[in-house]
């Protein structure tokens, strides 16, 4: 962890991590999927369809997606909620509702 300078103004800057807007979350999700399935047309992916079928993500890929999303947004999605994040809309709503925020700097 890089020691951020201890000056007053930097102190408050690091406490409230940047809370992400719904659009930010959608971008993060699309980026994460592209990393796992570079060949898929993720940009054109509709937000109300089952993206796992569309992009052919198997269970291993799906776990890799969730791991990436937890790192990028800080939100951990337990197995019991898998059913609630079937489409991009549901996934983005789920993450935004739970205060998805980019990790603090450093």
């Amino acid at each position: 962890m890089i020691e951020t300078p201890s000056g007053p103004e930097s102190a408050e800057h690091t406490t409230d991590a940047a809370v992400m807007s719904r659009d930010d979350v959608l971008d993060v999700v699309r980026e994460a999927i592209v990393r796992i399935a570079p060949d898929a047309d993720v940009a054109g992916l509709a937000t109300d369809v089952d993206y796992r079928d569309e992009v052919d993500l198997d269970s291993m890929d799906f776990l890799a997606l969730l791991t990436a999303l937890e790192r990028r947004t800080g939100v951990n999605i337990p197995e019991i909620d898998y059913a609630d994040i079937g489409t991009l809309d549901q996934l983005v709503d789920y993450l935004t509702a739970r205060g998805a925020a980019a990790p603090a700097t450093g």
């Binding site: 198997d58 269970s59 291993m60 776990l63 890799a64 791991t67 937890e70 951990n76 337990p78 197995e79």
Partner: protein
């Protein structure tokens, strides 16, 4: 040796050599009550080298001997109680408690800092699994084989397989790939290269399957595994874990399968020169389907030694590397048995084709909900169909059945 208080003034066993750790007083040259001047001799000390007369460095009075004659005493241990004549400190240089002879100067114990990575970097040599009984393969060939997903068993025994041989094989598989492919270029996004590589792979797979099907007298044994309870246990296990640590059914199945292959050794090895060569460990070939079609079969060496968490980690890395075309030499090592898993959403069952010269391939179907009779009652249970493709030259149906029984029993105690 009598007890002495902390502030007692004492005469300690002197160190009379770099390698001396202890000595014996074999003769006192003074009596209790004697007054001694600087340099007076006080005793004869026997070391493993010789008997040496030792002196006092400060005027003092001998009070009491603290050790028996001939008693083995560590350097720095008190041997006599004295009182300093001029009130000077007993000895301004208390002997260090017996330290390892090699210790740095007494006052500042230097703990050698962890040697910098550079100096003792354990060379991160990928553990090149010694391929038992294989043709001799040059290190460069192994590297290139790994990078291009070429199986090494295509080359005839005897002649040394070189990097050029592997490149020739890649070229044969895809004629217009230029020689520069030798250097592992970064994952190129150049579509043309991707297409060639895929077709090259298709042709390689095709040729291998033809040979396998033609040469090996296959038999198949299938069964149904009730995975309801194990899935339930996996769910409980995963409940409080982040995604990075969660387990998946294929990993747990592979642990059980590796254990069973270890138990039923006839399935774990190769058919070579008309006889079965057993493998000591279970080097599990994992069929990984690639997104753009085709498969690669990297190997997890020593799979029988992995628990569910380790197996999951190994599979996660392997799949990631395979799909990024970044397999390592160790990944390309020879498998002793292979598993083909269609994945949770896959078809019900798969009757596989053995990868020569192995003698078995385990097929795992997708997870299905099917009616099963449990305690004389029909219930909806989650199941996976398992099949064993066997080489009849090496073993027979009974072996495969024993394998499945082991697999089933081992699954009950996982993850």
């Amino acid at each position: 040796m009598t007890e002495i208080g902390p502030d007692d003034q004492v005469y300690r066993m002197p160190s009379l050599g770099a390698d001396m750790t202890e000595g014996r007083v074999i003769e006192w040259l003074v009596e209790p009550g004697d007054h001694l001047e600087r340099g007076d001799l006080v005793a004869v000390v026997e070391t493993d080298k010789s008997d040496i007369e030792v002196e006092v460095f400060h005027p003092c009075v001998v009070e009491e001997f603290l050790v028996e004659l001939g008693e083995l005493v560590g350097v720095g241990e008190p041997v006599a109680r004295i009182t300093m004549a001029d009130g000077a400190a007993a000895s301004s240089h208390p002997v260090e408690r017996r330290q390892p002879v090699v210790s740095a100067a007494a006052s500042g114990e230097v703990s050698r800092p962890a040697p910098s990575a550079a100096t003792t970097a354990r060379t991160s040599t990928t553990t090149t699994t010694a391929v038992r009984g294989r043709a001799r393969v040059s290190p460069r060939a192994r590297r290139l084989a790994g990078e291009h997903g070429i199986s090494l068993d295509r080359f005839p025994d005897g002649r040394v397989v070189t990097g050029d041989d592997v490149l020739r094989a890649v070229r044969e598989a895809g004629p217009d790939e230029d020689r520069a492919a030798d250097e592992p270029s970064p994952a190129t996004s150049d579509a043309r290269v991707e297409v060639d590589r895929a077709s090259a792979m298709r042709r390689t797979i095709a040729r291998r399957m033809e040979r396998a099907w033609a040469e090996i007298p296959h038999y198949h044994v299938t069964d149904t595994l009730d995975v309801t309870d194990v899935l339930q246990r996996i769910q409980v296990h995963n409940a409080e874990l982040g995604p990075a640590e969660r387990l998946l059914l294929p990993a747990v199945l592979n642990v059980a399968l590796a254990d069973a292959a270890h138990e039923v050794g006839e399935l774990n090895g190769w058919w070579r020169d008309d006889r079965f060569v057993a493998s000591s460990g279970v080097d599990l070939g994992i069929v990984v389907s690639l997104r753009r079609g085709g498969i690669v079969v990297p190997t997890i060496a020593g799979a029988e030694r992995l628990d569910s968490g380790q197996m999951m980690e190994a599979m996660r890395e392997l799949v990631d590397r395979a799909r990024r075309g970044r397999l390592r030499v160790a990944d390309a090592a020879e498998a002793s048995i292979t598993v083909s898993n269609l994945g949770e959403a896959g078809a019900a069952s798969v009757l596989g084709v053995i990868h020569p010269p192995q003698v078995a391939l385990i097929g795992l179907g997708g997870v299905r909900v099917e009616p099963l009779v449990v305690d004389d009652r029909v219930e909806a249970r989650r199941v996976v169909h398992v099949s064993v493709a066997g080489d009849h030259r090496a073993h027979d149906g009974a072996t495969a059945s024993r394998f499945i029984q082991h697999l089933t029993r081992r699954l009950e105690s996982l993850p």
